[in-house]
């Protein structure tokens, strides 16, 4: 891959300019979703939950939901939106009539998805902090985890979107991939207390698990070697998926 940063930024700007015009329509639903979970599950169900190791259930829930809102922010951008730009609006096709190259285009799209993930995750973090669920200053370590989460789900989403030819397949991506991740990645309950050894090792494959763990450690102000593994997982998987996506985009647009 060879990316020209200025061309990638021009691609990023295209999405930014569009978003500036339409954010009221598409920010709010995605942004409110984790807030609703926080209120319903965290406060409602949480009232019946004891034994979260000294914290309230809503405090347990908060860091995971920050990661989830970053995941959502990135995912919507690189699934439906990217698919429409590629297949219906001919946006990519028209970009490639200019000096923008496929790698720049991919980099710009991913950078934009990371930006949007950061907007979502950042707003959610601010909301959580405002109600006192993010202990300062340790929880500030969560801030770099937000774009990292965005990167991972931008890479997963774009790799998927570029390979499918029908928009209907996104229901599989959301219902059978993102939703199970959301439910079983340490967000709602501590996996290590529910799963036996072998299964716990297998669960390490779940992409969302790693950002959630990074996030939770940041909120608690704890370190550990496992965080290195989490960061490595996110970076290596993202990198591999982006290399794959770069190949696909050249094949889809360059024949």
């Amino acid at each position: 891959m060879s990316v020209s940063p200025r061309h990638a930024l021009a691609v990023w700007y295209r999405n930014f300019a569009m978003y500036r015009r339409t954010w009221k329509l598409n920010v709010l639903p995605n942004f409110f979703e984790p807030l609703l979970y926080l209120a319903s599950i965290g406060i409602g169900v949480g009232a019946y939950v004891q034994g979260m190791g000294g914290t309230s259930y809503v405090a347990f829930l908060a860091p995971g939901l920050v990661a989830v809102s970053a995941m959502n922010g990135a995912s919507f951008e690189v699934t439906y939106n990217s698919f429409v730009r590629l297949n219906y609006e001919k946006t990519y096709e028209s970009m490639l009539t200019t000096p923008v190259q496929p790698d720049d285009l991919l980099a710009g799209e991913v950078l934009w998805a990371v930006t949007r993930a950061s907007i979502y995750g950042g707003c959610f973090f601010a909301a959580v902090a405002a109600v006192g669920l993010a202990p300062f200053p340790s929880s500030l370590w969560a801030l770099p985890v937000i774009p990292l989460t965005g990167l991972l789900f931008a890479a997963l989403g774009i790799a998927f979107s570029l390979r499918i030819t029908s928009m209907d397949l996104f229901s599989f991506y959301f219902t059978l991939f993102l939703t199970p991740l959301f439910l079983f990645s340490d967000v709602f309950f501590p996996l290590e207390e529910r799963l036996a050894g072998g299964w716990l090792t297998l669960a390490e494959a779940l992409p969302l698990l790693h950002p959630v763990r990074l996030m939770r450690h940041a909120f608690r102000g704890e370190g550990g070697l496992v965080l290195l593994w989490d960061a490595l997982y996110v970076l290596v998987l993202s990198g591999a998926l982006l290399v794959l996506a770069a190949r696909t985009i050249r094949r889809r647009l360059g024949s």
Binding site: R21, P99, G254, S255
Partner: protein, 321 residues
């Protein structure tokens, strides 16, 4: 002839087992308006995509400004503008915002960008709608904007894929005028079209593509003159009456489409008079005498068979794709 801005040599493009472009040779002279004509599926769009370097040819060589497009796509595309067949506009944004975004793809500085946008708004009469969301513009203004996007970088070569398809006659005339102005100011224009009047009025040279090959190439008037007789006689004449009415004129080249028969001769008026003198069915023939045009040439090359008098043999009912 001036140097060629675009040169294609023995270009082949395969999609799996389908051969879309099959040994294409093409030279677009600098400063000319060059038309690629051909039925749907003849390989026009594929050829353009190879020329602006998005699709690599399966074999053969393409040079633009003397540069190898495959190796120097970015350098080539910095000097060209492309209007795709389908408008790729950002509908919620205004023309100015669309132009700004496109100018950024070309890395224009802010001052260059704003100056260029002003010029384009005037040149394409977009100023009245400069700040209106594109979604609210008519088809004609959307097309103008799409062409405007391809002009932001002051291209030396402008590639237009069916620039006026689906537009009303007034808009087409206005766009032709603009394209001519661009050509006159030194821009080389390469366009595809299905409209023969467009090609005839606009293009200095044309190439007719059929099944991925160039079957005819040159200045439109000269090509017509060299291929067909100067005039055409159109008759409403059923196939079974052809021999009776035409009599000894059986050797004249002709093309049939249903009841519609066109004969190509040097003097169509004289032919019509001589037919009428024979009396009978010929006396009441509905006939049109006109100069031979590009449409005749196109039909000649892309499917409808010209017949030299084989009795009653109907040609295909339309150009074969």
């Amino acid at each position: 002839m001036p140097e060629a801005v675009v040169e294609c040599r023995a270009v082949v493009k395969r999609f799996g087992r389908r051969v879309a472009v099959d040994g294409l040779d093409l030279a677009v002279p600098a400063g000319s308006c060059f038309g690629l004509l051909g039925p749907n599926g003849a390989g026009k769009t594929t050829t353009l995509r190879m020329i602006y370097g998005v699709a690599p040819p399966s074999s053969g060589e393409i040079r633009v400004f003397g540069l190898d497009v495959g190796r120097e796509a970015r350098a080539v595309r910095a000097r060209i503008g492309v209007t795709l067949q389908e408008n790729a506009l950002i509908e919620p944004l205004s023309p100015v915002e669309n132009l700004r975004i496109f100018a950024r793809y070309h890395l224009l500085s802010r001052s260059e960008r704003e100056a260029r946008i002003e010029e384009i708004l005037d040149f394409l009469d977009l100023r009245a709608f400069a700040a209106v969301p594109v979604a609210k513009l008519s088809g004609g203004f959307k097309r103008r904007l799409a062409i405007g996007l391809s002009l932001v970088s002051r291209p030396e070569l402008l590639i237009l894929d069916e620039p006026t398809t689906g537009l009303d006659p007034a808009v087409r005339l206005a766009l032709w005028e603009r394209i001519r102005e661009l050509r006159d100011s030194g821009t080389t224009v390469l366009l595809t079209t299905h409209y023969m009047d467009e090609a005839e009025r606009l293009c200095d040279r044309i190439a007719i593509l059929a099944a991925g090959r160039v079957v005819a190439e040159g200045a439109p008037a000269r090509l017509i003159r060299e291929t067909l007789a100067a005039e055409a006689l159109e008759l409403e004449l059923a196939p079974h009456a052809e021999r009776e009415v035409l009599g000894e004129q059986g050797g004249v080249p002709r093309v049939r489409s249903g009841r519609h028969l066109t004969l190509y001769v040097a003097d169509a008026g004289e032919l019509l008079q001589s037919l009428r003198r024979r009396g009978g069915a010929a006396a009441s023939l509905r006939a049109v005498v006109r100069p031979t045009n590009l449409e005749d040439l196109f039909l000649h090359h892309t499917g409808m068979r010209l017949e030299a008098g084989e009795d009653g043999l109907g040609a295909a009912d339309g150009p074969r794709a």
